[in-house]
């Protein structure tokens, strides 16, 4: 499966190994892992809940992966995104890409993250000493996604 949404943690090494398995054309593997930071907007974060929109989420992620495959010369891609309750340092998201060459692998990996950040229906709710709050979207994420439209 190119796209997975799950409550369980994932094993980065195992995911990369599965993605590469049997394909000796691969010369480059670019990987991104997003993790829960213990501080956001200056406040300590004790826990986080990740909500999503079942039904749309898988389609949105698959559409992003398909677009990346159209734009970049890559062999295989994988996106794993967790939902539910997470703690600081927990893994949230994995994007892994194989290609013959590093430029295409890096570009495709970054493209998927930039689009995921603005188009995939996930929402973070943080618990801090002041109570719970929904994380606000960042203008810098919109700007990062728009760079690919130029």
């Amino acid at each position: 499966m190119e796209v997975r949404i799950q409550e369980a943690d994932f094993d980065v090494g195992a995911e990369i190994a599965a993605l590469r398995k049997g394909d000796a054309r691969v010369g480059a593997v670019a990987v991104f892992v997003g993790t829960v930071r213990d501080v956001n907007e200056g406040d300590g974060v004790a826990a986080m809940t990740l909500e999503h929109y079942p039904g749309m989420t898988e389609k949105a992620l698959q559409a992003i992966v398909d677009e990346a495959k159209r734009r970049f010369d890559v062999y295989a891609m994988r996106v794993v995104h967790r939902v539910g309750e997470l703690a600081p340092s927990d893994q949230i998201v994995l994007v892994a890409v194989t290609s013959a060459h590093r430029g295409q692998a890096f570009d495709a990996c970054r493209f998927v993250m930039d689009y995921l950040k603005t188009r995939a229906p996930f929402w973070k709710k943080e618990r801090t000493a002041q109570g719970t709050r929904w994380v606000e979207a960042r203008a810098s994420d919109d700007a990062a996604a728009e760079r690919w439209e130029r």
């Binding site: 749309m56 949230i92 993250m113 950040k117 995939a120 229906p121 929402w123 973070k124 994380v135």
Partner: protein, 92 residues
Amino acid sequence: MRDSPPVAVRLVFLARLREAFASPGETLQLPASAPSTVAGVLDALRARGGAFAAELAPGRAVRVAVNHELAKPDDAVRDNDEVALFPPVTGG
């Protein structure tokens, strides 16, 4: 008043909007006078006042997906469409 057939959409409220509206969703019968568009749906909800007017006020960032695809205000909605309202996404 128009002659077009009645349009009912299945609304889904997510994240902050689900909490603000104290509901995961509902079925909305569009007023016969309303255009069958995303904007028409938002206007019908705003007309209720309260949390709907506040959360969907012009200038508030609200995203809409029709049948799981991101949609714009002018996009059409059809009878039985699933129309989801949510804040800008913050995953990853």
